[in-house]
């Protein structure tokens, strides 16, 4: 076992699809929360494999997508400063701000670097003591422990020229926000497997109970997603509003205690604005005051930033599962990954970008790259 290829087996996928067909008696709308799941679903055509009446809608779990435009502008303003080495994960570099992206800042002479791990910033800071290394600390609960470790190590080792621009968001408040809407269509969730690897899933149990929705914590491979869908349909059909765990090979109910501890030591819960959605109370993380010397927002006063999003963009409704990319008149015409107008097109994990990448802007139901019926060349 390598825990990867085995979960892409077309024959097994067909068995699971057949099982869903047997279990299902009526239509259901299920949301996959995480952008990585959305990408996998669209890439493998899993939504088209499912029996008619099982609709997958795509959730808000892409941190690049939901990072507010003003935060991106703030990052760019910092990255343009002479004394700064601006470090980021690769997926933020092409996200356009009000003026250009991090790549264009780099081409104009800014020192912008892609890092594999936040800890790389410590090495860079040591090698460049006369520069301030700023790391763009975005992400959900999955990434918070890595970013917390950067801050913790810099603090412990007295490395003063490391700071972080924090834009951390949390999943459970976003799920509650979706379910609170009068327009909500979602009846069950595929929960975010890697977020729950860190935090466990006990926080999801009160949501399932309060809003009467089943939640199945699910992995990212095609078979994971199909099995998670099957488990969700079973719970929906039985009227059981509980949390189940499809991804048991990776996580348990308690999550990773060591990671939770450091995140709690470094960050505290705060309100956050989500791009396309707006402010959600207690939906993010900010640095605790004892780490303020590593807080880039405090160290760099970039002034008031005023941004304006295009009115045509419906990403806010897409992120909440109310609409899909094809419902937008700009999708694939005015709005493309090269020229994104809003949240769900700016990252490969946004549902509009995933639909576009896999050819769904060309027609409503494209030829599928099906895992159940692979081509002789073995596309998957």
């Amino acid at each position: 076992m390598k825990y990867l290829d085995e979960y892409r087996d077309g024959k097994l996928a067909q068995k699971v699809v057949n099982e869903i067909r047997k279990v299902q008696t009526r239509p259901w709308v299920i949301m996959e929360v995480c952008g990585g799941q959305t990408h996998s679903i669209v890439k493998h055509g899993i939504d088209f494999l499912l029996p008619e009446g099982i609709e997958l809608v795509h959730g808000p779990g892409c941190p690049v997508c939901v990072t507010p435009l003003e935060m991106i502008d703030k990052a760019h303003a910092i990255a343009r400063q002479q004394e700064v080495i601006f470090c980021s994960f690769g997926d933020m570099l092409r996200v356009p701000g009000s003026e250009g992206d991090l790549f264009s800042i780099k081409s104009q002479g800014g020192d912008v670097r892609i890092v594999y791990s936040p800890l790389d910033c410590i090495k860079i800071a040591r090698a460049n003591p006369d520069k301030m290394v700023v790391f763009f600390a975005i992400g959900f609960e999955t990434t918070a422990p890595a970013n917390a470790m950067l801050v913790w190590r810099a603090h412990q080792e007295g490395i003063k020229n490391v700071s972080v621009l924090v834009s951390h968001v949390l999943v459970p408040p976003a799920i509650s926000f979706i379910l609170d809407s009068s327009q909500n269509r979602v009846q069950g969730f595929l929960g975010p497997g890697h977020v729950c690897t860190i935090v466990g899933y006990s926080d999801y149990e009160p949501i399932a109970e309060r809003y009467h929705v089943p939640i199945v914590i699910t992995g990212f491979e095609p078979l994971d997603l199909l099995q998670g869908t099957l488990m969700t349909v079973r719970l929906l059909e039985a009227g059981r509003n509980v949390v189940e765990n499809q991804y048991a090979r990776v996580l348990g109910r308690e999550g990773n205690r060591a990671a939770q501890k450091l995140v709690e030591d470094v960050f505290e819960v705060s309100d956050r604005k989500w791009r396309g959605v707006g402010n959600i109370p207690a939906s993010g993380l900010q640095l605790r005051s004892q780490f303020r010397e590593h807080d880039a927002e405090r160290l760099f006063d970039v002034g008031e930033i005023d941004t304006k999003e295009p009115e045509i963009c419906i990403s806010g409704q897409i992120l909440r599962g109310i609409k899909k990319p094809h419902d937008c008149t700009a999708f694939g015409t005015l709005c493309t990954p090269q020229n994104p107008l809003g949240a769900t097109m700016v990252s490969a994990e946004g549902s509009c970008a995933a639909y576009y990448t896999y050819g769904r802007h060309l027609k409503k139901e494209p030829e599928l790259v099906s895992i159940a019926a692979p081509s002789p060349g073995g596309v998957a």
């Binding site: 076992m1 099982e19 992400g139 890595a146 470790m149 048991a248 030829e367 081509s375």
Partner: protein
Amino acid sequence: MCLAIPGRVIEQFERQGMRMARVQFGGIVREACLEYVPDAQIGQYVLVHVGFAISVVDEEEARRTYELLEQMDQLSELDAPEVDEARAGGKPQ
């Protein structure tokens, strides 16, 4: 963004007081921090996200899930339709 990939721990070492490992992903070997999975052993698979191992893959559980999938639908396999062609956009490629 929340992408995490399983890889096999092939070597453990310490760097500036931090537990680190070399982890093999197919043909690629990269370093990962083991601070969050202190019990990880050489030979085990860990799930790595942005340079941090965040979980040790439970082999027993993985096998159980897989067997469950394999056993699924065993009795009624013959009478199940191959693929839902109308929704799958015509002939298989």
